[in-house]
C-alpha cells in the first residue's frame, strides 16, 4: 500500500456484518448485510454496502465512500436521494460475504485448499481494500464469538497468545464458481502452482469446482496437471469436456499417460477423442491400447529414439536435439536394424562423450536387457531392480523392438502393491 499521512485501519468483515449505519443526526439508515468488491484488481476495493434499510426493510446498495466514519460507529455523510440503488452487481463486482466467507479458496502460496474464516480489509485514503483472508483458528473463534474467553484461557494455561493466520489476497484463488475463475483469469493465480500441487488440489475439490478449475487452465498446464492426477479423477475431468478440447489436452500429455487415460475412458468417448487427435499420435495410442495393462505391452511407450547402426554419434545428437522435446524417453538410444531387431543400446551420457564421427554400432552395448511383450509387471519390476535401469526395452518373440517401459510408469503400476 502507498504510504500516506492518514491513519491506516484494519477491519474484519465479521466486525462489519450486522452493524447499524446511522446518518449524521444519528437516525438509523440500515444494517450491513454484505459488501461488494471489484475482484478484477490486485487488492479488490470495496465499492458498496448491501444494507437492509431501516425505513422499509428492503435491501439496497449504498456506496462505501459515502461513509464519513468507520471507527466505532458507522456514520454516513448527509444522505442524498441517489445514494441508494437496487442490489444489482456491476461488471467485475461480487458480494464478498456470499461468495467468499465460509467458502473454500486455494492458497497458491502454500498450495493448499483453505476455508475462509474471515476477510481482512485495510482502510487507506477513504477506500477499503480486501488485503487478507483469515484461515486460522483465531479467525474462527472471532466468528463464533469466543475469541475473548479462549484467548484468556490460552494465556492463563499455556502462556500462549493465539495469532491470526492471514493469507495475502495476492495468493488467494477463489474457486466456488466458474464466474470467479473467469473474473480473475487475467491473473490466474493457479498458474503459479506446480502441476503436481495443482493435481492434489483438484483431487481435493468437489466435482463442480474441479471442473471449473480445470477448464480455467491453459492446455499445456491442463495436460501436465492431468498427468499427475488420480486416474478416477482424470476420467471425470475429461468426461466433462467436449471431444475437441479433450483431444487437444490429451495430445499434449506423454504418450503412455495418454494411452492409460484413454484406456480408462468409456469406449465411444475414447474413440471420439482419438478421431479428433492428430493421425500419427492416434495411431501410436491405438497400438499401445491393444495390450493388456498389466503386461509389458500395456506399460510401454513408443515415444523414444531408435537408430540404425550406421548412424554416427553426431547425426544422432542432431536428431535428438531436434526431437527431444516431444519424446517420452531421451536417456537411452536403441540401435535397431531395418527389420526393427534390437541390436544394442547406449545412454545419452555415452553419446555425449563419444566423438561425433563414430558409428553407433561401435558405441553400443550389445549385452541387452529386454523384456518380452507378454511379460507380467511384477517380473519386470524384478528386472528393473536387478539391472538398475531408467527404462526397459520391450521386444516381441523375434527380438523386434516394440517399445520402452519408463521406470516412472512401472512404479505407478506396481505402487499399489508396495503399500505406503
Amino acid at each position: 500500500m502507498a504510504v500516506n499521512q492518514e491513519p491506516q485501519v484494519f477491519l474484519f468483515l465479521s466486525e462489519l456484518l450486522g452493524r447499524r449505519i446511522v446518518d449524521p443526526e444519528g437516525r438509523p439508515v440500515g444494517k450491513v448485510l454484505d459488501l461488494t468488491g471489484n475482484i478484477g484488481e490486485t487488492y479488490p476495493p470495496v465499492t458498496d454496502i448491501l444494507l437492509r434499510s431501516a425505513a422499509d426493510g428492503k435491501t439496497f446498495l449504498f456506496p462505501w465512500r459515502r461513509l464519513a466514519e468507520v471507527n466505532g460507529k458507522l456514520v454516513t455523510h448527509p444522505i442524498q436521494p441517489d445514494d441508494f440503488r437496487a442490489p444489482a452487481l456491476r461488471a467485475g463486482e461480487l458480494f464478498l460475504k456470499e461468495t467468499l466467507l465460509d467458502k473454500q479458496v486455494v492458497d497458491t502460496d502454500g498450495a493448499k485448499i483453505r476455508r475462509v474464516n474471515d476477510l481482512q480489509f485495510l482502510q487507506s485514503q477513504k477506500t477499503l481494500y480486501l488485503v487478507h483472508v483469515d484461515v486460522g483458528f483465531h479467525g474462527l473463534l472471532r466468528r463464533v464469538g469466543l475469541k475473548g474467553p479462549i484467548n484468556f484461557l490460552f494465556r492463563a494455561l499455556f502462556d500462549y497468545t493465539l495469532t491470526d493466520q492471514l493469507i495475502s489476497w495476492k495468493f488467494v484463488q477463489p474457486v466456488s464458481s466458474p464466474d470467479l475463475l473467469r473474473l480473475t483469469v487475467a491473473q490466474n493465480r493457479l498458474a503459479q502452482l506446480h502441476p503436481a500441487d495443482l493435481a492434489d488440489i483438484i483431487e481435493d475439490l468437489d466435482i463442480h469446482q474441479r471442473a471449473a478449475v480445470f477448464r480455467s487452465l491453459d492446455i499445456e498446464t491442463a495436460a501436465e496437471t492431468l498427468e499427475e492426477t488420480d486416474p478416477k479423477v482424470q476420467v471425470s475431468l475429461i468426461e466433462d469436456l467436449d471431444t475437441a478440447n479433450a483431444s487437444d489436452i490429451i495430445e499434449e500429455m506423454s504418450l503412455s499417460e495418454a494411452t492409460d487415460l484413454l484406456g480408462e475412458l468409456p469406449k465411444d468417448m475414447a474413440e471420439g477423442i482419438l478421431k479428433e487427435m492428430e493421425k500419427d499420435v492416434a495411431q501410436d495410442v491405438k497400438e499401445l491400447l491393444a495390450h493388456p495393462e498389466e503386461k509389458a505391452g500395456g506399460l510401454m511407450t513408443t515415444s523414444f529414439f531408435g537408430f540404425t547402426p550406421e548412424r554416427t554419434a553426431g547425426e544422432a545428437m542432431e536428431i535428438i536435439r531436434r526431437e527431444a522435446e516431444d519424446m517420452d524417453l531421451i536417456y537411452y538410444l536403441y540401435v535397431v536394424d531395418a527389420d526393427e531387431h534390437l541390436l544394442g543400446v547406449l545412454s545419452l551420457r555415452e553419446l555425449i562423450v563419444a566423438s561425433p564421427e563414430k558409428a553407433l554400432s561401435e558405441l553400443m552395448d550389445t549385452r541387452i536387457v529386454a523384456v518380452e511383450i507378454e511379460e507380467h509387471k511384477d517380473r519386470i519390476a524384478d528386472d528393473f531392480a536387478k539391472y538398475g535401469m531408467l527404462a526397459m526395452p520391450v521386444v516381441d518373440g523375434d527380438n523386434r523392438l516394440k517399445g520402452v517401459i519408463l521406470f516412472k510408469n512401472l512404479l505407478e503400476a506396481v505402487l499399489p502393491k508396495l503399500g505406503r
Partner: protein, 427 residues
Amino acid sequence: MVENLTGTFRGLWQAFVGKKYWKSLTLFFALIGPGIITSNVDNDAGGITTYSLAGSEYGLTLLWTLIPITGALIIIQEICARMGVVSGKGLSDLIRERFGARITFYLMIVLFLTNLGNTISEFAGVAASMELFGVSKYISVPISAAIVWWLVVKGNYKSVEKVFLFACVFYLSYIISGFMGKPDWQAIGSSFLRPTVRFDTGWLTMAVGVIGTTIAPWMQFYLQSSVVDKGLKADDYQFTRMDVIIGSVTVNVVAFFIIMLCAVTLFQNGIRIESAKDAAQALAPLAGNYASWLFAFGLLNASLFAASILPISTAYTICEAFGWESSLNRKFLEAPQFYGLYSLMVFLGAGIILLPDMPLITIMYYSQVINGAILPVILIFMLLLVNDRKIMGEYTNGPVMNIVSWLTVGILTLLSLTMLAFALFSK
C-alpha cells in the same frame, strides 16, 4: 490317508481363494457400497442392545414399528445420498457454507460429544462380547483399539471399505441365530398385520429408543461423505438410490431377527435382561449354545465395525467443516487436527472402558440423550439444504417428496423431543 486329506483341503482352499472367486467377489463389492455400509454400521452395539431389550421386554409388539422405520430411513438416507451426488460436498461442508461459522462450531462440538459417547459404547460392546468368550476386557479392548487404529491409518480407504463390506456378511449370524430360536411364524405374521400401540411410558420410550438407534445423526454425515468419496455422478444416481434402499432394508431385517429371537425366547420365558451380553447368555439354555455364540459374535463384529468407522468419520466431518487438512495420505504434522481428533476418539473411547468404576450406563444414556437432541437440528438443516436451488439445481425435492420428508422429519423430531423429555424428567 493324511496326505489325501490335506490334498482335499488344499483343493477346497484353492477353489475358495482362487482367482475366479475373488474376481466375482470384487465385482460384487464394486456394485454395493456407501448405503449398505452406513446402514450396517448403524446396527452397532447400542442398536443390538436396544433391539434385545425391545424383544425381551415387549415381545413381538414392537416388531411392526420396523416397517415405518425402514421407510423413514430410506427417505432420509436418500436425501443425503442425493445431496452428496449432486453437490459433491459433504454435509458438514454444506452446513458451514449455508449456515455460517457459529452454528457449525457448536454443532460440531455436540456431534463430537455424541459420537464419542457412541464410540465408548462400541468398545463396551467389544468388551462385553469378548467376555462371553472368556476374554478379559483388559486384553480385548486394547487389542481391538489397536486393530481399529491399524486398519484406518495403515490401510487405504479402498481396502478398508472392502473389509467393511465383508464385515456386513457377519450380520447374517443374527439371522441364523434367529432361526435357531424356532420362531412361531404365525404369531410373528399377525403381529405385523395387527400392529398395536400401547400407551404406557415404558413401551413408548422403547419404541422411540428403537427409532433413535436406527436413525442416528452421525450416519447422515458418514453416508454423504462416502458417496462423495466414491465420486458418483448424477447419472449414477439410480445405483446410489438402490444402494441406500438395500442398506435400509437389510439393517431392519437384522433388527427384525434380533427382536424376534429375544421375543420368542427371553420374553416368552419371562427372562429380564439389562444388556446385549445378558441376552446372549440367556439364549444358551433356550436356543442352544450355538445361537448364543452367534449372538455374541454378531455383537463383537458390529461393535468393531462401528468402532472403526465412528472416530474416522467424526474426524473427517469436523475437519471438513473447519477447512483443516483431512486425509489419511498426509503425515501427522501435516494434518494435526485430523489425527488429533481421530486419536482422541479412539483413545478416549477405548480408555474409558478400562477405567474401573466408570458409570458406563450413565455415559451411554447421556450420549443417547444428546443424539436425540441433535438429530432434529440436523434433519431440518438437511431439508433446508436439499431444497436450496443454489446447491441442488434441478435435484431439489419435488412437492410430494417434500410433504413426505417434512412429515417424516416432523414425526422424528416430535419423537426425539419426547425421548428427551422422558430422559430428562423420568430420572
